[in-house]
Each structure stands twice: as C-alpha cells, then as structure tokens.
C-alpha cells in the first residue's frame, strides 16, 4: 500500500522520497493549518510537527476541516495529529498544545504559517529566518486571500504586516481558506522538490469575488 498510496502523484521515485523524508512544521492548526496538513499528508510528507494552544469552538465550524460537533472543546493540534495519522498510519506526527517556540520549528525543512495575528506572524517569520527555514505564508479575509514564501532573501511578512493590526476577528470564508491552503501546500511541495516559484520572490493576491489574481513580486534584498 505504501507505494500505491502516492502512485497517482506521478512523481519520480526520488521526488516522492524527498517528500517522505521532509519535515513540515505547522504553526496554527485552524483553518489554513488544518487544510494544508491534510493536503500534505496525502501528498506524502513523512513528518509533521503540529503546534496550536487552542481548542475547537463552534465559530470554527465554518472553515476548519477537522472541526465537527464531535471535536468541539478538543485541542486542535491533538485532533489534527489523530486525523493525519488515520490518513497515513506510517507518517511521523508530533503535536504540541502550546504557543509556538523555537523548539517547534528548528528541526523542520519548511514551516506553515497558520496564524491569525500580525504580531505572531512577525515573531514566527523572524524565528524562521534565524534558522534559515522558509515560512510559507497564507492569510485570508472573506473573499480575499494572499500566499507567499517568506525567507531571508524575501521577507514578505515584514512588508505585509508593517502596520499595527486593526481587525482582531477577521471574517473568513471556507472557500478562501481551501484556496490559500492549497497554495501553501503547493509552495511546500515546490520548495522540497527544489522547483523555483514566483512566490519565492513575493506573494499572490487573490480576489475570489472578481476572480482576479495578482503576483506582487519584489526585488530580492
């Protein structure tokens, strides 16, 4: 079953092996984090580190893939670990019910931004850059979303969150979450397979209402 599990990815054996040998740290296991994790475990990522201090509440039901009436009140990271393990019993899955720290990211090849505050994003981006680990950013608000890769050469988080936050409870559609999570998972795949991507030099701005998608590319610093 282990070969057949990913055979329809159509990847070369060495590429599929690279994905299996990769470690992805998911910081924030809500809307974006949960969806991205589900895609990546199916893609064949071998090791996950999941971090989130929160429990599922009923306002998460509209968009967080493993939030159901049965999981309300349960820890998001623990539920996500259990669901990923069901999808791939041989994946290595570690979870931490806590706010993120250096220990949750330092052993990862790639980190997923599943956060929802500017302050936390700035802190996580700084931490990832200090370990030379790319941070795959995603953020959503109702019909609109953005995704890109933050790194030492393209510190997009500092650009996007240079002003203090005014919107503490953003409105979020499930469709936008699914789209942006798919982009984050795709950027993880490309990074691990060492494929160049425009989003390694900027970000994609998505407007689902007008079906308008813009690459905002920056000069490398």
């Amino acid at each position: 079953m282990e070969v057949e599990r990913t055979i329809r990815n159509g990847l070369a054996t060495e590429d599929q092996k690279a994905l299996r040998q990769a470690t992805v740290s998911i910081v924030g296991c809500g809307g974006l984090g949960g969806r991205t994790a589900e895609l990546l475990v199916r893609l064949g990522i071998g090791t996950f580190i999941l971090t989130d201090p929160d429990i599922f509440t009923s306002s998460n039901l509209n968009r967080q893939i493993f939030c159901t009436p049965q999981t309300l009140g349960l820890e998001k990271a623990r539920v996500l670990a259990s669901e990923l393990q069901k999808i791939n019993p041989v994946a290595n899955i570690y979870f931490h019910v806590q706010t993120f720290s250096e220990n949750n990211i330092k052993n990862a090849d790639v980190v997923i931004d599943g956060l929802d505050s500017a302050k936390d994003r700035l802190q996580l981006a700084k931490l990832c850059r200090s370990h030379s680990i790319p941070l795959i950013h995603g953020a959503v608000k109702q019909w609109y979303g953005q995704a890109g890769v933050d790194s030492e050469t393209s510190p997009i988080i500092d650009t996007l969150y240079s002003t203090p936050e005014t919107d503490s409870t953003p409105t979020v559609f499930p469709m936008t979450v699914a789209l942006i999570a798919a982009m984050q998972a795709t950027e993880v795949c490309k990074w691990i397979l060492q494929k160049e991507s425009p989003l390694q030099n900027g970000w994609l701005q998505c407007d689902l209402l007008n079906c308008d998608y813009d690459q905002i590319l920056q000069d490398k610093t």
Partner: protein
C-alpha cells in the same frame, strides 16, 4: 497629471479595481488614500511602480500606485 490607482482585496468594495485618475501636481500617496475614504490604519502596503512608498510620497505623472489592506485571518 495622470496616475493609475490599483486597489486590492476589500478596498475594492464600492470603489474600483483599477482607475486612471487626473490629479493636481504635488498630490501625495496619503491624499489619495484619504480621498478614497480609506482609513490609513487599515492600509498594509503601498506600492508605487512596484516599490514601497509612504503616505508622504509625492506622485508623478504616469505612476502606478497600488494600495493593499492588511489581511490577517488564518
């Protein structure tokens, strides 16, 4: 002078996606934000011809000016 103004995400609602605007010489990036009734505190990124700028930047004829809100949900 003529400046192309591009708005992103929810700044487009009840405004526009892209518009060529005839502006008096000396107009600043911040004045356009104010004219559009956009709260400066909601602005995340200002790009002038794909480069960052601040509210006090004076625009020039032919500039392409993009205004982005902060998007924070996850």
């Amino acid at each position: 002078m003529k400046v192309t103004v591009k708005l992103f995400a929810f700044f487009r609602e009840d405004r526009f996606i892209k518009e060529d605007r005839e502006l008096p010489e000396g107009t600043t990036a911040g004045q356009i934000v104010d004219d559009l009734n956009i709260d400066r505190e909601e602005v995340g990124v200002l790009l002038l011809n794909s480069r960052h700028c601040k509210f006090d930047k004076i625009l020039q004829d032919g500039d392409i000016y993009a205004i982005f809100p902060v998007i924070g949900g996850g």
